[in-house]
Symmetry: none
Subunit: 339 residues, 2 copies
């Protein structure tokens, strides 16, 4: 799936900003791709970018209308259909993060066909994957792993991509979730892939590359989460991670959606190394990323210092304090091959 | 999904017998349903039942052509299509264990419609699953795990079902793969479930039950297999296994389809206990099941004795020597609740 950029961000008439969190994520990390937004009467979200008509968006070179919103049940509301059809008629592709498939709406399917436009359902994939082979491939890969779901795994690798590129390193974010696919313009929502092909899909997402190139893979779930550990393990094996960063959210008391307690950071490091060695015997941790949003700055810095000392690893909040310390460690641990 | 019996077993032109393990499994456990086989030139598999033309199969009352092969990736080879269309034209339904959907091939879809025949894609399900919750549920569960794929995990639990029922125990085979679904007439091919729902689907396959009831869950893959470990882990977590049997094939030198060496039985026991404790802290091994087909009887018995001694567990070849020793251990380890 290759989504053409730049995007016109369709927000519909969502009742709050949370319903548009995918759109906010795209705007935060790819502002240069977001030429404008399109909102219907009653829309409570605002990305802070120009409201554009379809003609205005086309004049700015826009290629794709992005439906970066969620509504109850993931359904496509009937009154959005005419807007989507109009966008197709204007010459835009459509990319949607809804559960409902765009092509299942006859008017949309017909308009896409008539205009020769693409419909991208980011939560679904038509890509056929091979099963994972586990054969070591060239290029370097970093995976963000977590003590739980929703602890900042995507933001961590996006921040690393930015920080590594600023240092002149050759690094690419590799999406494995729907928001990430919009942000990278490419990838697969790994949690929608058939179970047999998880690691194979990851081998496809982050293929063989130059020996000094880094793929920065967005992790999913946690090896300790009873609902999703299988996904996390397939992702770890497919990534053949050389390096990983443990992501953590210190205010969490139980794992998301279940009654299980959170594992410790030490447990996550140990199990990730133990299981990751199957496809990369040299896997090692290079940092700890903590979402410190719930803490005052002093408390956040103290926690990070404690974690860094305890684990002998750089510990930071990537959004609040940057990723320099982790990039330093990465450069030290993985010196570039001689030219 | 109701598959009409008896079956004509389609083997195509598979290059070895292992690739036809679905067909062998059905023939071994439901011989009364298998009226004959259909093979293409070059086929290296042979079920030891009559080779029949479509007309001969119809004359024997056959109702369904079963595509009983499991090739890498589950692809439907182009040169099988005309054979499948001919079977539909002759009046047979088609049931397939491949990942590829029969109805996705236009010629097959058209022939099914024209003849009013059913297409069963056993690896696909229309069932909607919740994500796994990991909450301990009543009833007992045994899972077969393996040092590799295709080492007898299904045979082991089918033999245990037979052996336990002969002892008056309340035990049910629970299919998690396409062959098991053909054999039991129910279940879900877990390796075709969307990755997010693996453990949730297993919670659905083996639901809460009477405290003395045993669900005997067919394992898949191996925690040490780089292609499929994620599936194996989701299955282990969803099963909340009280007991497990390690299945092994001693002639294997590398894991199936990849270059990785086999883990030891000890490694499989240790990792299964370590990871299984997340959803069942009391998980324990109750036996070792070895496919000794490649060994003389004396060598087979010696190997089993060595393994039993080394691991302090009953070790048997379920097909060759029965499962009494494992059932003995199970009864001893899990005494029935007082009436």
């Amino acid at each position: 799936m290759q989504i053409e950029t730049p995007y016109l961000m369709f927000l519909g008439d969502v009742p709050d900003t949370l319903a548009a969190k995918t759109a906010y994520g795209i705007k935060d990390w790819r502002p240069e791709w977001c030429v404008g937004q399109m909102r219907l009467p009653g829309c409570a979200a605002d990305l802070g970018i120009p409201d554009l008509t379809l003609d205005e968006a086309m004049a700015k070179g826009c290629r794709t209308l992005v439906i970066g919103v969620a509504n109850a049940g993931g359904i496509l509301p009937g009154h959005w259909v005419s807007e989507i059809v109009a966008a197709l008629n204007a010459g835009l592709d459509i990319a949607s993060g809804l559960h409902a498939r765009l092509g299942a709406v006859p008017e949309i399917a017909a308009a896409a066909k008539a205009n020769g436009r693409q419909l991208h359902d980011v939560r679904h994939t038509h890509e056929t994957f091979a099963t994972g082979k586990g054969t070591k491939r060239p290029g370097k890969r970093l995976l963000s792993v977590g003590t739980d779901c929703s602890v900042g795994k995507k933001y961590t690798v996006l921040a690393l991509e930015r920080g590594m590129r600023e240092r002149g390193l050759d690094a690419d974010f590799r999406a494995t979730g729907q928001t990430g696919v919009f942000i990278s313009g490419r990838g697969v929502a790994i949690d929608a892939v058939v179970a047999d092909f998880i690691s194979g899909a990851v081998e496809w997402i982050a293929p063989a590359a130059d020996p000094d190139h880094w793929d920065l893979l967005e992790g999913q779930g946690s090896l300790f989460h009873p609902s999703f550990a299988g996904v996390s393990l397939g992702l770890l094996h497919g990534a053949q991670a050389d390096a990983f960063v443990v992501c953590h959210e210190p205010s969490r008391t139980t794992m998301r959606g279940v009654q299980h307690p959170l594992p410790t950071i030490r447990q996550v490091i140990d199990l990730t190394v133990q299981l990751g060695r199957l496809t990369n015997p040299d896997i090692r941790p290079v940092g700890i990323a903590v979402n410190t949003q719930s803490l005052e700055e002093g408390a956040a810095r103290a926690l990070l210092a404690d974690l860094a000392h305890e684990h002998g690893l750089p510990a930071t909040d990537p959004v609040r304090f940057g990723v320099d310390a982790i990039v330093d460690r990465l450069v030290a641990e993985f010196p570039k091959a001689a030219a």
